[in-house]
């Protein structure tokens, strides 16, 4: 799922694209082909190894409610493993990008592309690679699942951390340098705290989006090889195979409990704690609260542990006084030469990547396949756009109505966030049953599934926008007796526009991912299919047809990136420029 959020304020959840001057351009192409070539090589390498990876079914999942807590725990652990990995990635890669201009030139476009790529389409590659790494062991499948979740989470976190590092206030930077903080102390005292609020929000958004991938990654087949990992996702797939409706209901219940617990025990405490790092010199009006955090803060034991740990962390490397030294700098001509060499390396890598992809694809595919993929791409594009419009028509008025009523907005906000985190693929079976029972046309009626899980982003962003409408403007609108249409046109719609765009683009990004699992759905032996690029990829994956998966994934990435660049990004920039209320 695509989140670009890096807003400091919890309520807004506003996505922010990289600032204009950093906005990737020709490096986009480079990043895209490089990622594609890497994927191709991965599969190629795995194939060369010629591994007997068939039927790596580990311990079978039993549909016994008593085992469900254990399965839920396994799913949750996978999620936490992935988020830890994402954090490590963030600290390493984002720091590198912020400190080195050369690295930045490559990393930032890569991140930007990576966060637009529909990860579901790359599932086959991920699995093949990791199973190749750890042949004939559960570890490989486990690693593949965690890696998949990681790829859905890491990019926006890295982005937010990078942006924070780049926007550290000058005066704090000078104070840190003037008092001679060592690089490690600087990280602990300045960079990490300053980046924390945005990072926490992005990590939370990532985790919300991640449940979808947890469910999707636990039971999967590539060709004749199928994998299952004990968890809620594999429970669900077994239940679907057995057409066991009660078991599906159990899965829904378990998921709800897991998300509720995670919200209360992880999400809220961390958000409440991160509030103290907000970079504002005034106290916030509404401070986030968490009973669990209050509880932990009251425990003396925790304070006793935390104190010495903090001290120890601070001491890790021997304190070094920053020496007064001359800034290292190359002579202008040498720097220019170095830049040229660097661009040469980048250009060479790009050419090599294009050649690799084209050679791989043309070996087994022809123009006809490409045309089919593009045609299907337009079908899915149509689906996504129409559904965004429909969802907007429904949720914008409702969201505004709720947002203008403070008593409601708090509660609905929490509910919408809960629904956004809830993996929609868990409730797909109910929809399939309805379509089968009513003999509806799957081409049309499967479509709503792709926005089932992501429409909530529109709702809660609009609610946030409407509740942030300034009171004086509300009073002015009331005083001049603005009629309903004029009120919407001149006041409400412009006021919520940046928020709405954020929600819509998030929903759009998520929908592409969902299309891979929503355009082909099964219930027992019944399979329903809607024509589209998602179905193209899903069928190729099921058939183990790796070149077609690669083609589908590439085409889908192209669609999403083009859509982002030609529609969402300009809209977002326009809304930011003209409708930002400050």
């Amino acid at each position: 799922m695509v989140f670009l959020s890096s807003d400091r304020q919890g309520a807004g959840l506003l996505a922010r694209f990289p600032r204009r001057d950093l906005a990737p351009n020709r490096y986009d192409v480079f990043a895209l082909v490089l990622i594609g070539a890497f994927a191709v090589l991965v599969v190629h390498g795995a194939r060369q190894m010629n591994l007997p990876v068939s039927h790596l079914v580990t311990e079978p999942v039993v549909l016994d409610p008593r085992r469900l807590p254990e399965y839920a725990l396994r799913s949750t652990l996978r999620m936490f493993a992935a988020i830890s990995l994402s954090l490590l990635f963030t600290f390493g890669v984002a720091t590198l990008a912020a400190k080195s201009r050369k690295a930045e030139l490559v990393i930032i476009p890569m991140l930007d592309i990576a966060q637009s790529i529909p990860i579901m389409s790359f599932l086959a590659f991920t699995l093949t690679f990791f199973v190749g790494l750890f042949p004939a062991s559960e570890l490989g499948v486990e690693a593949a699942a965690i890696f998949l979740i990681f790829t859905s989470q890491a990019w926006n976190m890295a982005f937010s951390f990078y942006q924070s590092l780049r926007t550290i206030p000058t005066d704090l930077d000078e104070a840190a340098r003037q008092f001679g903080l060592s690089p490690w102390k600087r990280f602990l005292k300045l960079e990490l705290p300053f980046a924390t609020p945005a990072l926490v929000w992005n990590a939370m958004m990532s985790m919300s989006g991640g449940w979808f991938f947890v469910v999707a990654s636990e039971a999967f087949s590539v060709g004749k090889t199928s994998y299952t990992l004990p968890g809620i996702g594999s429970w669900l797939s077994v239940a679907i195979d057995h057409r066991d409706l009660t078991a599906v209901a159990w899965a829904v219940g378990a998921m709800a409990v897991v998300i509720l617990l995670y919200d209360q025990l992880v999400f809220r405490p961390i958000v409440a704690w991160a509030d103290k790092f907000r970079f504002e010199q005034t106290a916030s009006e509404i401070e986030p609260e968490s009973w669990f955090l209050d509880l932990m803060r009251r425990t003396h034991l925790l304070a006793r542990i935390a104190g010495p740990v903090g001290e120890l962390l601070g001491r890790l490397p021997a304190p070094v006084r920053a020496p007064r030294r001359k800034a290292r700098s190359l002579s202008p001509s040498a720097a220019l030469w170095f830049d040229r060499a660097w661009y040469g390396v980048i250009g060479g890598a790009a050419v090599w990547a294009v050649v690799t992809i084209v050679r791989y694809l043309t070996r087994s595919l022809d123009m006809h396949d490409a045309l089919v993929a593009f045609g299907d791409g337009f079908l899915t594009l149509g689906r996504v756009l129409v559904l965004i419009v429909i969802a907007s028509l429904i949720w914008v008025p409702i969201g505004v109505w709720i947002g203008l009523r403070p008593a409601w907005s708090q509660r609905i906000q929490a509910l919408a966030q809960f629904l956004a985190a809830f993996p929609a693929n868990v409730i797909f079976p109910f929809a399939v049953m309805a379509i089968v029972a009513l003999r509806l046309d799957p081409d049309i009626w499967l479509s709503p599934l792709i926005i089932l899980g992501t429409q909530w982003y529109i709702l809660f962003n609009v609610v946030a926008g409407a509740s942030a409408l300034p009171n004086d403007l509300k009073e002015a609108a009331g005083m001049f007796h603005l009629r309903s249409w004029q009120r919407w046109r001149d006041f409400i719609l412009p006021g919520i526009m940046p928020y709405y765009i954020t929600g819509a683009l998030t929903a759009s990004g998520g929908s592409w991912n969902a299309s891979v699992v929503a355009e082909v759905v099964t219930w027992g032996h019944r399979t329903l299919e809607a024509r589209g690029l998602g179905a193209f990829i899903a069928k190729a994956t099921a058939a183990g047809d790796i070149p077609r998966v690669a083609l589908g994934a590439t085409v889908m990435s192209l669609f999403v990136i083009t859509l982002n660049r030609s529609l969402w990004r300009p809209l977002y920039a326009y809304a930011e420029k003209n409708f930002r209320l400050n």
Partner: protein, 441 residues
């Protein structure tokens, strides 16, 4: 450029010596860059408070940061000496205009910051920080976060944080300019008391300010900077005994004298040249609202003989020299006023403007902007010449950037748009960033 840290043998030697300092921002690849400091010398002796006084853009903050080691100047030398003494004082510590407190650290943790960086053990850190907090009068606020404190209290924390590392030199970068008048005065007095009673472990203070009265109130010696580029144009010794009184005639005379020096032009140059960096189209203009210009002309017109003493005007209007001078200079540029010695005096056109009604004012303003601001005339000419009577603003912005940095070009464009709109000599459309001749009226 060399920066050295050495331990001298005898006590009488200066703490800081700056020689031939030059600093250039930007530039490279054939472009000249912006010279912010040129040929600056400075000597700081033990036991004195020295003020660096100048307008924004005069490079005084750059000089301070060079001494703090935060900036490496383009050329010249900075020598900071550690004088051995009975106490542990050494090095420099800085107090920031914006306080620069870490919002996620408590008062005490903020104060301990420098000590922790030095690797002082936790117990000693605690003791020393509590002593500093006590000294600065913040007892009881050790566990507060900066956001819970008023501006004055925050700056006290900033001061404690600097003092606790026992620097031999305290660097202060406009430390009181973000505070309200009353708070600033209290803090100044407290600081002077601590200094005169010798309760701070420091040997010398270097204070950057653009407030003339503040400099005269606190400093033993004042270096007055010119701007564009920053040079020391005067060194003034202040011999008035402490505590100094603002209403003391000697105090007033000194303030007025410094005002005159700061507004004085380099000898020989006509009064209107060199007001702003650059000439002709390449003149960098300050973004001053037309309301402010009108207000200033009305105020001066109301004074006897349509002339006013600049320093009196500043007091009356509660303007810093930094804010007042660009207004006066813009009026000079447009020939609405003249600065002669310590006075600002309206020209006949300025007097006419002050007496006119709204529409007449616009007409007078339009004539003068076209006549005396080359950029305005240029834009109008381009619009007149084109059949469509439209031109993208980026075109003029690019032209400006041949002469000046992006920031200056941006401010100049803002100024010209405001003045042009008011004078109704052209319209500007923000949506698509273009100029045109259509008048919405």
């Amino acid at each position: 450029m060399t920066v050295t840290l050495e331990r001298p043998q005898q006590l009488a030697t200066p703490l800081v010596e700056v020689r031939d300092l030059k600093h250039v921002y930007g530039g490279g690849r054939g472009r000249p860059g912006l010279v912010v400091l040129d040929d600056v010398d400075l000597t700081l002796n033990p036991g004195e408070i020295v003020g660096l006084l100048g307008r924004s853009g005069s490079g005084k903050s750059t000089l301070l940061r060079s001494i703090a080691g935060l900036i490496t100047p383009t050329a010249g030398s900075v020598t900071v000496r550690d004088v051995p003494g009975d106490d542990a004082a050494h090095g420099v510590a800085m107090v920031f205009q914006s306080f620069a407190l870490f919002p996620w650290l408590t008062v005490q943790k903020n104060v301990e910051l420098g000590l922790e960086a030095q690797g002082v053990p936790a117990d000693a850190r605690r003791q020393r920080s509590l002593a500093a907090i006590d000294l600065i009068g913040l007892d009881g606020f050790e566990n507060a976060y900066p956001k819970e404190l008023s501006g004055g209290m925050r700056q006290r924390v900033g001061l404690a944080r600097a003092l606790v590392v026992q620097p031999s030199i305290l660097l202060m970068d406009e430390p009181f300019s973000a505070l309200d008048v009353l708070t600033a005065e209290t803090l100044r007095t407290d600081l002077l008391d601590l200094w005169s009673e010798g309760r701070m472990p420091i040997r010398s203070i270097l204070l950057v300010t653009h407030n003339i009265e503040e400099a005269v109130l606190m400093c033993d010696r004042i270096l007055v900077f010119s701007s564009n580029p920053g040079r020391v144009i005067a060194e003034i010794k202040v011999d008035l005994p402490q505590p100094r009184k603002r209403l003391d005639p000697a105090f007033r005379a000194l303030v007025d004298d410094i005002y005159a020096r700061m507004t004085a032009k380099p000898s020989g140059a006509p009064a209107r040249e060199g007001l702003f960096p650059g000439t002709g189209l390449g003149m960098a203009l300050p973004h001053i609202s037309t309301n402010t210009l009108a207000g200033m002309m009305e105020t001066v017109a109301g004074a006897p003989g349509a002339k006013n003493e600049l320093s009196a005007l500043a007091r009356e209007l509660q303007l810093e020299v930094d804010e007042l001078l660009p207004i006066a200079e813009t009026l000079q540029l447009m020939r609405f006023a003249e600065v002669v010695g310590r006075d600002i005096r309206l020209t006949p056109a300025g007097k006419r403007y002050a007496d006119a009604d709204v529409d007449q004012r616009k007409q007078i303003f339009a004539q003068h902007v076209i006549a005396y601001v080359p950029l305005a005339a240029h834009i109008r000419r381009v619009l007149d010449d084109r059949a469509s009577h439209q031109a993208p603003a980026s075109r003029f912005r690019d032209e400006l950037e041949d002469f000046m940095s992006e920031t200056y070009a941006e401010e100049t464009m803002d100024a010209i748009i405001t003045w042009g709109r008011y004078a109704e000599i052209f319209a500007y459309h923000e949506d698509d960033d273009r100029f045109s001749l259509d008048n919405p009226a």
